[in-house]
């Protein structure tokens, strides 16, 4: 609809079903919440209060019928509230959820396939695949034996928390597992949409140029880890790894960087170690969280 940004709403489909109708129930154990035809969950005022809706109604002392109403609400408050729900649901089950973001073709799916092959003998892995169209990537994942669910965002250029919440209820990832979310190939929009993941992993391939972190700073600022992929191609391209790292750290001094090749497996030991550390963290908080949410049937 919008020919400037290409974003559309209410067109997303999860494996053939429109998100607004097919997957009304939200996440498992949470039957409340209705999805509007626009594809957003409808909440009542009590729920709205949870995401910082202040007491609106401040009135300018004017005499005209027009008056100012103080709102002070984040534009993405609804997405953020749903993301928090997802995060709680995942935490209560000790599931490590990672949101993988990159430009189109940086190697996310190839990387996921190799990662699943390395992990699945010791920990269950499930995958949510986001693409504008086709279920090719989900099929590539399923070939590994791991369960995968494809979300097609239509004209939308990013996954949002509602889509992922619905995907969780379909996929029902097991306790103590890894959930890998492959976002739509796009270095801009996914930076703004929290899905409830534990960390964003940005994949930068060496064929894209070492100045990407400065061109798309928000994504590198939002990520916890940067994987520099396709390092097997370094002899053939003009890509300075040190420069790319330096640029990325300018944007985000706390960013961890691991160079890898999804094709040869180079660097995978370090990447899998990073996953293990975060999986341990996700699992460790389980007893606490499980107690917290036991009463809610989560």
């Amino acid at each position: 609809m919008c020919n400037v940004c290409g974003c559309g709403a209410g067109e997303a489909r999860i494996e053939g079903l429109p998100t607004g109708q097919g997957a009304r129930q939200g996440r498992p154990g949470d039957a409340a919440g209705e999805v509007s035809p626009r594809g957003w969950r409808v909440t009542d005022s009590h729920e709205a209060a949870h995401y910082g809706r202040g007491p609106a109604g401040a009135q300018a002392p004017g005499m005209s019928q027009a008056r100012m109403l103080s709102i002070e609400q984040r534009i993405l408050a609804r997405n953020d509230a749903l993301a928090d729900e997802n995060r709680r649901w995942l935490a209560g089950r000790g599931i490590l959820a990672l949101n993988l973001v990159s430009s189109p073709g940086a190697g996310k799916t190839t990387l996921l396939v190799r990662t699943i092959e390395a992990l699945q003998a010791r920990v269950p892995v499930s995958v949510v695949e986001g693409d504008q169209q086709t279920s090719f990537d989900a099929e590539r994942i399923r070939a590994t034996g791991a369960p995968a669910l494809q979300i097609n965002t239509g004209k939308g250029c990013h996954l949002d928390a509602l889509m992922v919440g619905q995907a969780l209820s379909r996929l029902a990832p097991p306790v103590d597992s890894v959930l890998l979310i492959e976002n739509v190939g796009n270095l801009v929009c996914p930076a703004a949409f929290d899905l409830g993941e534990r960390a964003k992993v940005v994949v930068l391939s060496v064929t894209e140029g070492d100045d990407k972190p400065l061109k798309y700073p928000n994504m590198f600022a939002a990520a916890s880890l940067m994987l520099i992929n396709k390092t097997d191609l370094l002899p053939y391209v003009d890509f300075n790894v040190d420069k790319a790292i330096d640029f990325a750290l300018r944007v985000n001094p706390a960013l961890v960087v691991i160079p890898v090749s999804a094709t040869t497996g180079a660097g995978f030991d370090a990447w899998l170690d990073w996953v293990d550390v975060h999986l341990d963290e996700a699992r460790t908080v389980v007893p606490l969280k499980a107690d917290l949410y036991a009463g809610k049937g989560a």
């Binding site: 940004c5 559309g8 027009a66 100012m68 609400q73 984040r74 706390a254």
Partner: protein
């Protein structure tokens, strides 16, 4: 760009507020958009006009207040202003600046009638 989704979010907030406060029309929507946020104001304006059609803010003026970017420089142990996420500290020239403000995207006020 995801300005369409942002415009949808604004419409949601406007409609919900209209329901609870019982007003009919919105004259002005005032946003607070940080200088470092992932938003292109021009494309947001374009999407805003399209998305508000048929709702309480149909034809409303969109006012965008920019909030400056700020960060904490570890070297200087001070709060500094930055125009871009990758800008160095204006005091010491170092890059160890953690962003502390200027990424917000909020609906601040509605002028209603």
């Amino acid at each position: 760009m995801h300005e369409m989704s942002l415009a949808e979010g604004i419409r949601q907030i406007v409609e919900e507020t209209a329901r609870h406060q019982g007003f009919g029309r919105v004259r002005t929507v005032v946003l607070e958009i940080g200088q470092l946020a992932v938003v292109e104001p021009d494309s947001l304006r374009f999407c805003f006009d399209a998305v508000m059609k048929g709702g309480p803010a149909d034809g409303a003026v969109l006012q965008i207040d920019r909030v400056p970017g700020t960060g904490w420089c570890a070297q200087c142990a001070a709060q500094v202003e930055i125009a871009e996420l990758y800008d160095p500290c204006p005091r010491c020239g170092g890059y160890r600046v953690q962003v502390t403000g200027g990424t917000e995207m909020r609906v601040k006020e509605l002028e209603i009638e």
